[in-house]
């Protein structure tokens, strides 16, 4: 083709998109003037500062870039430069464009992962009378969606379950055949963030820790100053399924609060972070509703709590100082207790006030120290934590109270070696209550982990040499030593040694290119010097492996053996030993990408020397599956399976647990994984 000479000040043009919005995979077309081949060779294209010249094709008088992968939604920049014959760089064009889903929404997506299985039991024997019917229909769906445009974004996530046997759903039978796991809706617009559903509304601290509950929260955050404020209202008791709505409808089972944080040193945002939390609530803090997996005291309690944290990084982040102070007002029986179960409240105690503080110092002398040309990291620290005897918060169900801990620790990391040492002393009865004894506990923990880095030099053909016969090993040892003494007598306890615990865990793992194995041996010893409990020795040995043999077969064997010996039992009780052995093998074989089989074998033996436990069980679980249609995009996939289960349990103490049964199922599974 013959090109006419373009004017020296030629201007390219980014052509408009074909539709009303530019899609993520839509080619970018730049109109060029007539240029000769030499001039075209001098052009460079950059997308978001990445050189894409090699992916640009010149078609006629257009340069066309077809994204190899969909571009992210949002704004992008395309730049065209020319290296002139005299060596100068000329910017011929810069365009900012937006990738959008539609004209109305920059992003709009709904993705579903849906599975529905129909199973029929075609053979069985020995099933208990409670066994479900021959036919079962069950399924699960994970739904995720998002909408966004300039300045705002909304996302949602919802997990749904279906089972024709409602007893297998989280809330059990009598609640229908479809239920929900959890959900979360999030909306962001500028500095405002709002959430509804299961989430943690604030940072972990002394009064709120691991508090992921259903509820709502709304917050403001400043990208400029780092300041943020969040108000929240969440259900005290964990809930699951289609009940309790957003979780905030019951004032007697709700925690309300506010979290405010800021970074007051403008010149060094990370130098100091301040955070304040206040909350109040009531409800059964320590127990969840059915299906939530939380069991404990069902008493309805209530309380208020406030907490302030200052976290400072100084000396170029070599020194960290963290201080926290908290106060609580906690009512152990909430609105009162019906002590005689006659339906009326008979007792109502006054709330208890208490406080807690925690101080932590860590120091890392160097950030870039090298020893023998390898990075060397050393740190040390000190912790002082005091939590009052009656310190409780409705948003920290796992919180531990009545402790005063003084602890020092240090750690070294160098050349694959990591060692940690911690020594401390902890006392209780920190409120010095006259009726209570006080114990003091000396705590020592040491762990060392070593992962040698083999010097694997590439071979002449560029490939890495095979691992040595021992593969790539990792060794770990952890030792814990605790000694508890009664320091102040009370409630029948005399001063003196109370108990001692020692634990040593040794672990080695070895990894090869297609397989790995792992060995662990743990020794434990518990001595009780007050003789209300037996002393105990324990030994646990575990062996696991994960092997891939060829391209088709995978094997995962495991063996675990534990022995627990009791010594020096209390008067009137006999010492007993318990031996437990569990072995298992999981096997997978891929005949073809559409035909595969699995087999699981598991056996367990548990025996106590006093015959209070004598249990053995064997289980076989196998399946062979053929995927007739692979799920892809909006097209549903179909898989047919033959599954079998064999279960043999013999309990010589509780004979009602005995069962010897098998069942065989034919199953059809439909999977639908569309994205809209």
């Amino acid at each position: 083709m013959a090109w006419a000479a373009a004017p020296a000040d030629w201007k390219p043009e980014l052509l408009a998109q074909a539709k009303d919005a530019r899609g993520p995979s839509e080619p970018l077309r730049v109109a060029l003037p007539p240029l000769d081949a030499e001039a075209v060779r001098r052009l460079s294209f950059e997308l978001d500062d990445i050189d894409i010249t090699g992916m640009v094709a010149v078609q006629g008088n257009q340069a066309v870039f077809t994204p190899p992968q969909p571009l992210a939604f949002g704004r992008h920049q395309l730049r065209l430069v020319e290296q002139a014959a005299d060596g100068n760089i000329l910017e011929r064009g810069v365009w900012t464009f937006e990738v959008r889903k539609t004209a109305a929404f920059r992003e709009a997506q709904l993705a579903a992962a849906t599975t529905l299985s129909a199973a029929r039991r075609i053979a069985d024997d020995g099933l208990p009378p409670t066994a479900p019917g021959r036919n079962n229909l069950n399924g699960a769906a994970q739904l995720q969606g998002r909408l966004a445009d300039a300045g705002w974004r909304a996302t949602g996530q919802l997990d749904l379950l279906f089972n024709s046997n409602g007893a297998l759903l989280p809330r059990g039978a009598d609640h229908g055949h479809i239920d929900m796991a959890d959900f979360l809706l999030t909306a962001e617009a500028g500095p405002v963030v709002a959430r509804a559903g299961h989430h943690a509304a604030g940072p972990d601290n002394l009064i709120m820790n691991g508090f992921r509950r259903r509820g709502v929260s709304a917050g403001l955050r400043s990208a400029d100053t780092g300041a943020a404020a969040t108000v929240f209202s969440q259900r005290t008791q964990e809930v699951i399924g289609f009940n309790e709505g957003l979780g905030i409808g019951d004032a007697g089972n709700r925690v309300d609060g506010v979290v405010v944080s800021g970074r007051p040193v403008a010149s060094h945002r990370d130098a100091l972070v301040l955070s304040v939390t206040y909350l109040a609530g009531e409800g059964p803090v320590y127990a969840g509703l059915p299906g939530t997996g939380i069991a404990g005291d069902t008493t309805i309690t209530g309380g208020r709590a406030a907490d302030i944290v200052a976290d400072a990084n100084l000396l170029e982040r070599r020194l960290r100082l963290r201080g926290e102070y908290a106060a609580t007002r906690y009512d152990f029986d909430g609105n009162g207790r019906d002590i005689d179960l006659d339906g009326a409240i008979d007792s109502n105690q006054e709330p208890e006030r208490d406080r807690a503080y925690a101080a932590l110092l860590t120091y890392t002398p160097w950030h870039d120290k090298r020893v023998d040309d390898k990075p060397f990291v050393w740190n040390l620290g000190f912790e002082n934590r005091r939590v009052g005897t009656f310190f409780r918060s409705p948003a920290n169900p796992a919180g531990v109270s009545d402790r005063h801990l003084l602890r020092g620790f240090t750690g070294v990391n160098w050349s694959g070696l990591d060692a940690q040492l911690s020594l401390g002393r902890e006392t209780d009865n920190v409120n010095d209550l006259s009726l209570l004894p006080r114990t003091a506990t000396r705590l020592g923990m040491f762990s060392v982990n070593y992962t040698p880095n083999p010097n694997l030099q590439p071979q002449p053909d560029g490939s890495l040499p095979p691992f040595p016969w021992y593969g790539r090993p990792n060794f770990n040892a952890a030792y814990i030593d605790m000694n508890q003494d009664v320091e102040k007598a009370g409630a029948g306890l005399a001063t003196g040694a109370s108990s001692a615990t020692r634990s040593l865990a040794l672990t080695a793992s070895f990894t090869y290119s297609t397989w790995s194995w792992f060995l662990n041996h743990t020794l434990g010893r518990y001595d009780n010097f007050i003789s209300l409990q037996a002393d105990t020795n324990s030994r646990l040995t575990q062996l696991n492996a994960n092997l891939r043999l060829g391209e088709r077969l995978t094997l995962m064997p495991m063996l675990q053996h534990s022995e627990v010996e009791e010594r020096d039992p209390p008067a009137g009780f006999a010492a007993k030993d318990t031996i437990t052995t569990t072995a298992g093998l999981s096997l997978g074989y891929v005949f073809s990408p559409r035909l595969y089989a699995n087999l699981g074998v598991n056996t367990n033996r548990q025996k106590a020397s006093d015959d209070s436990q004598d249990l053995r069980s064997r289980n076989y679980l196998g399946s062979i599956s053929w995927t007739a249609v692979q799920a892809q995009g909006a097209r549903a996939g179909v898989t047919f399976s033959l599954e079998g289960q064999y279960y043999d349990a013999e309990d010589r103490v509780l004979v009602t647990n005995n069962q010897n049964s098998y069942q065989v199922f034919l199953k059809t599974t439909v999977a639908w994984l569309p994205t809209f």
Binding site: I294, L436, Y526, A631, S661
Partner: protein
């Protein structure tokens, strides 16, 4: 002191005859109730579980039913703190000594109230009857959490992201974890068990994936992780941490996961 008879409340036969209004044979009577252990330690500030074996002696001849409607937590001065509403009942051929076992959960507020009223202990009492009643008791010394007897106060099961229910894809690496609140110290014995796919919800065929033998010390919160859970066969599964020792009064309910498909 374990195994000793701690208190026997023998009601005078004459009063029994009056109270029984002729329904009870004059020879039938619970003559002794003993508890083992006779004493335990519970921690102030948290609920506590303890196990007790009751040995109940009846003088009744022939078939007899021994029962106890409820247990009571009281201060040493006799004030009722809480009622344990679990009935115990067993048929026997008398005269005989009949054993009952139970695990009792003492709510934190009952321990707290006894302490605030100036006591360093509370009492757990049960009255057994075959028509004529007698009672026994266990003394519960109030100490700190660290000095208390080994017992669970709370158990929270979840998956590795903290959620109690997961939809996993075939081949996913999935683990469960247990957050255990406890008092005192000792060796926790139990096993990670699963049932499924599509188990019998009323009587799951539990199979042990791994034993748990863990030294718990420090009256703290411990987190135990399960081994990898099977995800090679689709369908719903149940997972639980079966705790053999120490005994827990509350129901250690399982959590669920479903193996399905996922977005590529």
């Amino acid at each position: 002191l374990r195994g000793e008879i701690v208190r026997i409340s023998l009601v005078p036969l004459l009063a029994l005859w009056v109270c029984g209004a002729g329904l009870v044979s004059a020879q039938a009577a619970v003559t002794a109730v003993s508890a083992a252990p006779v004493a335990a330690r519970v921690g102030l500030g948290s609920g506590a579980s303890f196990s007790v074996n009751w040995n109940v002696t009846t003088s009744a001849a022939g078939a007899v039913t021994l029962s106890s409607a409820r247990g009571e937590l009281r201060t040493p001065a006799g004030a009722l703190l809480a009622t344990v509403g679990q009935p115990l009942s067993r048929a026997a051929s008398g005269p005989a000594a009949v054993a009952f076992s139970e695990t009792v959960f003492v709510p934190a507020d009952a321990i707290h109230r006894a302490h605030k009223e100036g006591f360093d202990r509370l009492l757990y009492q049960r009255s057994f009857t075959d028509g004529v009643a007698a009672s026994g008791q266990v003394t519960l010394a109030i100490v700190t959490q660290r000095a208390a007897d080994f017992g669970l106060s709370r158990l929270q099961l979840g998956f590795d992201d903290g959620r109690p229910l997961r939809i996993a894809a075939r081949g996913d690496k999935l683990k469960a974890q247990a957050e255990i609140g406890y008092a005192g110290g000792g060796i926790l014995k139990g096993a990670w068990e699963i049932a499924g796919p599509n188990p019998d919800a009323d009587k799951p065929a539990w199979r042990a994936l791994a034993n748990v033998t863990e030294a718990l010390t420090g009256a703290d919160t411990a987190i135990l992780a399960s081994p990898l859970l099977p995800t090679d066969i689709g369908g719903p599964y149940l997972v639980r941490l079966r705790v053999d020792e120490p005994a827990a009064r509350f129901d250690l309910a399982p959590i669920r996961y479903v193996v399905g498909e996922k977005q590529p």
